[in-house]
């Protein structure tokens, strides 16, 4: 089987990346060091090729209704604590489910206009998600277009991301003004109404989004695939003096796990999308267990009895290798391990978990790394429940936690990160 390649494939191999297959694409796993790349995203910034991800357009007078039926989040009630309606220039996370409530894929829906949405899904999932929307959206006056392979994408993640883009964008002050978390500006084709609002100094139009999948401050950049290599090189150059480095998928995986974010088809998949640590992806009416809208799979979720998914943290950085089972305090097998990685940016001090960027971290705190991830178990577990994870080789002690890497920067306002830092 031949693997797919992004526009940056030759750049990666030319820069010594260790490559591996992900979602059908031959992608960089790391360049010099997955550990250094992970730490760079917390301390400086990381630059990720994410062109393997797929874009699906949903357009037409029935586009909103189609997504309201197929997407788990309520697009008319999802923004902020007051649950305002999604509006052009804003994006929201959720999932597409089948009638059994099982996950087809997770996605971010970007509202381009009242009748136009850009849906960003995982590598190789464009055709499947487009087919799913067509299959279940027949009643709605909407057009579904799979743009797989036709959109270039890269992510710039970390506290230096805004300073790097400041050097690359034509009018950075205007672009960064009023750009909160999960908002976007610009477009990568003139079919997008906000096209032209974000342009590089080299004249390349972008869709720039305050999103990412590392838990840290940063952006996702969408551009024409033919523009991505020049854009990548400009951003790598802008970041070189700020400690920013290109990062592979290994760092992306350990960063997202530490941020408590699921990997589709691993932490969420062919089982009901409920009883998990991502309630923000479901349309709960504030303070209730009721959904604010009907959607495909909702009945299955309302009657769902599990399994239950929880984040965990280990005692030290030692991991188990999948497949691995979850044992309760009495040694009984109660479930399986979905993700188990090491977040090298965290560590324990006097019983508390700090990140190397925690404002109140102890002096000279160096992290050291902790094993973390997600377990799936048959019955509910309390916070702090002691468990053991067991693979064919070892058994490690872990505890159920609410969150993994503390003091993440994803929501930090842009202006606070544009000034040169104290260090």
């Amino acid at each position: 089987m031949t693997s797919l390649k992004t526009s940056l494939h030759a750049w990666h191999t030319g820069h010594g990346a260790r490559m591996g297959l992900f979602g059908g694409y031959d992608m960089p796993l790391w360049y010099a060091s997955a550990k250094d790349e992970h730490l760079a995203v917390l301390n400086h910034a990381g630059i990720f090729d994410t062109s393997h991800m797929a874009v699906v357009l949903v357009e037409g007078p029935g586009a909103l209704d189609l997504l309201q039926f197929c997407f788990t989040n309520d697009l008319t009630a999802c923004l902020g604590p007051r649950k305002a309606s999604l509006r052009p220039g804003r994006a929201v996370y959720g999932a597409f489910l089948d009638a059994q409530g099982h996950v087809v894929d997770d996605a971010i829906v970007f509202m381009l206009a009242a009748d136009a949405f850009m849906v960003v899904v995982n590598a190789g999932m464009g055709p499947a998600v487009a087919a799913h929307l067509v299959q279940h959206g027949g009643a709605y006056a909407a057009r579904v277009t799979d743009l797989s392979g036709q959109v270039g994408k890269m992510d710039v993640q970390g506290p230096m991301a805004a300073r790097m883009l400041y050097d690359v964008l034509a009018e950075p002050e205007t672009v960064f003004d009023a750009m909160p978390y999960f908002s976007f500006k610009g477009g990568f084709t003139d079919a997008i109404p906000s096209w032209g609002a974000v342009v590089t100094r080299q004249g390349v139009p972008l869709l720039l989004s305050r999103t990412g999948y590392t838990g840290e401050f940063g952006f996702e950049l969408f551009a024409g695939p033919e523009q991505i290599v020049a854009l990548w090189e400009a951003i790598v150059a802008a970041g070189a003096s700020l400690g920013a480095v290109p990062c592979g998928l290994a760092a992306r995986d350990s960063l997202r796990a530490g941020a408590g974010l699921p990997l589709s088809h691993q932490d969420i998949g062919a089982w009901p999308f409920c009883r998990h640590p991502w309630p923000f992806a479901l349309p709960y009416r504030p303070g209730t267990q009721e959904f604010s809208k009907p959607f495909l799979g909702d009945t299955a979720l309302q009657t769902c009895q599990g399994p239950y998914t929880y984040p965990f943290i280990g005692r030290d950085l030692r991991k188990v290798t999948l497949p691995a089972e979850v044992l309760d305090a009495s040694g009984r097998s109660i479930g399986d391990v979905l993700t188990c990685v090491t977040d090298m940016a965290v560590g324990r001090h006097e019983g508390r978990v700090f990140s190397i960027r925690s404002p109140d971290r102890p002096k000279d705190f160096r992290g050291g790394g902790l094993c973390c991830g997600f377990v799936r178990v048959a019955d509910p577990l309390p916070l702090d429940a002691p468990l053991a994870l067991k693979d064919k080789r070892r058994r490690i002690d872990v505890r159920i936690v609410k969150d993994i890497r503390p003091d993440r920067t994803a929501r930090q306002p842009i202006h606070t990160l544009l000034q040169p830092k104290e260090e």
Partner: protein, 135 residues
Amino acid sequence: MKELSEVNLPEDVRYTKDHEWARPKGEAFQIGITDFAQDQLGDIVFVELPETGDRFESGDEFGTVESVKAVSELFMPMGGEVVAINEALEDSPELVNTAPYTDGWMLEIKVGDPAAYDQLMDRAAYLDMLKGLEE
């Protein structure tokens, strides 16, 4: 990732198919993993080693090396008794990446049958095996 021509393969050690090396040191043998193995694994963040006095047969798993993403087994090139472990790896596991044949050594073992060393691959044979893996 290193090209095969960039992989450091010293002449003064012998190699195994599991990418460990052994080198005579006085009456004992020093054991570690090859430059090829450390390059494949990426950043090593933890090395789990046995205790001195532990005994293993040739081919037994004696410990693990752990990268950010994966855990891999370590196998004994020859049977014998562990007489020393590299305690520096506890605080500095990255020595396995930066100096796999020197500061990144893992064990010293006393071997029952020193002739077993001659059964291991020399540089040329190991390089041939690596070339085979690339194809």
